[in-house]
Symmetry: C2
DNA sequence: GGGGATATACTCAGTTCTGATTAATCAACG
DNA sequence: CGTTGATTAATCAGAACTGAGTATATCCCC
């Protein structure tokens, strides 16, 4: 849901009032690995939150610079934050996995090519896992729970792609080994 | 990416030409558990695929019924399908997990409430897992790979929520057991 | 001291997605 | 044989999202 983005922005503004640019910088630098929020989308959401009365904006003019707005959470926003947080913590919305669509049609491909592609995927997953490991040791402890979450899922993903590769090899054992 | 939705539609139309309604019925009945595609979105995507030349539509008029269009894949669409399938199989785009946002702010809550909510989540995950198990034995073998994919991830999710609960209990061991 | 890169700060037109609605057909019940 | 509820089939206004663009200030090197 887009609710989680509202939760994110309200949570950040709750800790500290900010203008849009600052907020975007923060998200890009600290939360890049777990949220996907374009800068223009953030501005859109801030405006929406504003229209809904959950944040208030104050325009700052200085010389003839482009104007900047400071956003701060309102009492209604505070309540909404609590609601969204409770909702987020208490529910589980299973994600949609893009990879599912591919495997549905995978059998329509030549075994060789299919295996080559799946091996490439395996490497892509591994290299993403490596990046997570780096984050795991570098990021502050406040992020470890999230990183560990991603590690659990990425490991599940490796198990799965290995199963797919094994299954494909079993069905049509042509040119078995492509890597090492 | 929205590319995966294009892949899905092209893949289905490749197997059999259809009109929009038929396609929507099929997706709702057979693929509900792994794709999230609103009917109106499907019509939008079909139109887009059409404008891009990947599918051709043929309008069927009959009496004064609302008109229906039959969609079939074009040669360009066939090529595009191959490209999208290769791309899908060879890459890994880590999903964004909604739950991450919640845990970032979870520590700002009373321990009691946090534990209550996380336990509710645990149950939600378990009940989703149960539904997957039912699908696992009921759906045709063509779907088993996908179901197993979801089972792997849902199990990862249970491990994670248990860790969160344990960590919260360790930090503030108030009213330890909420369920049984 | 001029000019090219970088940082600050947002806007906007265009694309994508969705909930609500429309509209005809059909089955079936009293 | 009228009306009501499901089925077939798709539209559309509006919400959500994004890439490309605008505009000023500031830093720094030659």
């Amino acid at each position: 849901m887009t609710n989680d983005r509202h939760l994110l922005l309200l949570g950040l503004l709750r800790a500290q009032e900010m203008h849009g640019y600052q907020l975007n910088e923060f998200i890009d630098q600290q939360m890049d690995f777990c949220v996907d929020l374009k800068r223009s989308t953030a501005y859109y959401l801030l405006d929406k939150l504003c229209r809904d009365g959950y944040v208030a904006e104050e325009v700052e003019r200085e010389g003839n610079r482009p104007e900047r707005r400071v956003y701060r959470i309102t009492p209604a926003g505070e309540v909404h934050f609590q609601d969204l947080l409770r909702q987020n913590l208490a529910t589980y919305v299973p994600p949609v996995y893009a990879e599912d669509i591919g495997v549905i049609f995978e059998h329509q491909m030549a075994a060789d090519e299919s295996l080559r592609l799946l091996n490439a995927r395996r490497e892509a997953i591994q290299s993403y896992r490596a990046r997570l490991e780096v984050l795991h040791v570098n990021l502050p402890p406040s992020h470890t729970a999230v990183i560990e979450h991603h590690l659990l899922h990425v490991d599940a993903e490796i198990v799965w792609v290995d199963r797919l590769i094994a299954a494909r090899l079993k069905r049509s054992p042509t040119t078995p080994a492509l890597h090492e």
